[in-house]
Symmetry: C2
DNA sequence: GTTATTTATATTGCGCGCAATATAATTGCC
DNA sequence: GGCAATTATATTGCGCGCAATATAAATAAC
């Protein structure tokens, strides 16, 4: 028995997005490996480089990652000596995440990654802008 | 110290794709849960419904998933009684993956999922076509 | 025909995604 | 002040992504 067209894998928008995203994250690896960062760890470090002394919730909002993802990820970053996690004095529930000196030192080499990725030339600049715009719209409209 | 613009999270195309894809897969969940399938399992079942008696390699190619992902995934599908994995007679290295009767019975309810997802209206049909096209192009151009 | 290479699948290990649940501190309400 | 509701973070458990490695069968080379 054969399936209707809407069940064919080639017609799955989500599969296209899914495999493109996974491929893109794989493409980051050669540039992130020397920094000893995974892509989600790189996202979190970008957030912290942009705004030091954030709470876990702040980092989740900035990176769009989940608490259950970020908490152990931050522990790994702390184990690498890139950040430390102190308790807030005003609110003992909050963790304040701060850069260590090595975390700060990693900023410069990490700043080269976007340029290295751009050299892949997977799509044109115009197409990249468009796909970002559409993905953003999709993300915003799906969010509950 | 502040970061240059290309290091800002808002400028990360990959983050837009990443979070949109994760959100889309989360959006599948309410429709896939009643079928007791995860999204990657749904992808593999779509491949099998489309072409029965494929090898693991065939399924990896169709779904763009990895061997290390597909092998245990197939075992879980087998444990649910949806498929079985017999050895090929001609080539003892090959596994031939076949639908069971319950696997076949799941096809009809699964065929309703794309329509249910379409009702989310996260983006217009035209935008969906475009994002699929761009994601495909990106995927093809990244592949080594 | 034996050895080397290739091919198909499986295994291991670690990090992540995420739902569900727990813990503990803060805030609101009376 | 005392108690419920809320808020911030952490924990658990399972499935997946993927690199590295292993195993074993088929094929090629000689």
């Amino acid at each position: 028995m054969s399936s209707p067209p809407h069940m064919m894998l080639e017609n799955q928008i989500c599969l296209s997005l899914y495999s493109a995203t996974n491929a893109l994250i794989r493409a980051y690896r050669p540039f992130l490996d020397p920094l000893d960062l995974t892509y989600p760890q790189y996202l979190v470090m970008l957030a912290i480089w942009d705004a030091d002394n954030m709470s876990v919730t702040d980092i989740c909002r900035a990176t769009r990652l989940d608490t259950g993802t970020v908490t152990p990820l931050l522990k790994r970053l702390e184990a690498k000596g890139l950040i430390y996690r102190k308790r807030s004095a005003e609110d003992e529930r909050r963790r304040v995440i701060s850069l260590t000196e090595s975390g700060e030192l990693l900023r410069a080499p990490a700043s080269k990654v976007p340029g290295q990725m751009a050299c892949l030339n997977a799509v044109s600049i115009e197409e990249a802008k468009q796909i970002k715009l559409l993905a953003e719209k999709m993300y915003q409209n799906i969010k509950i």
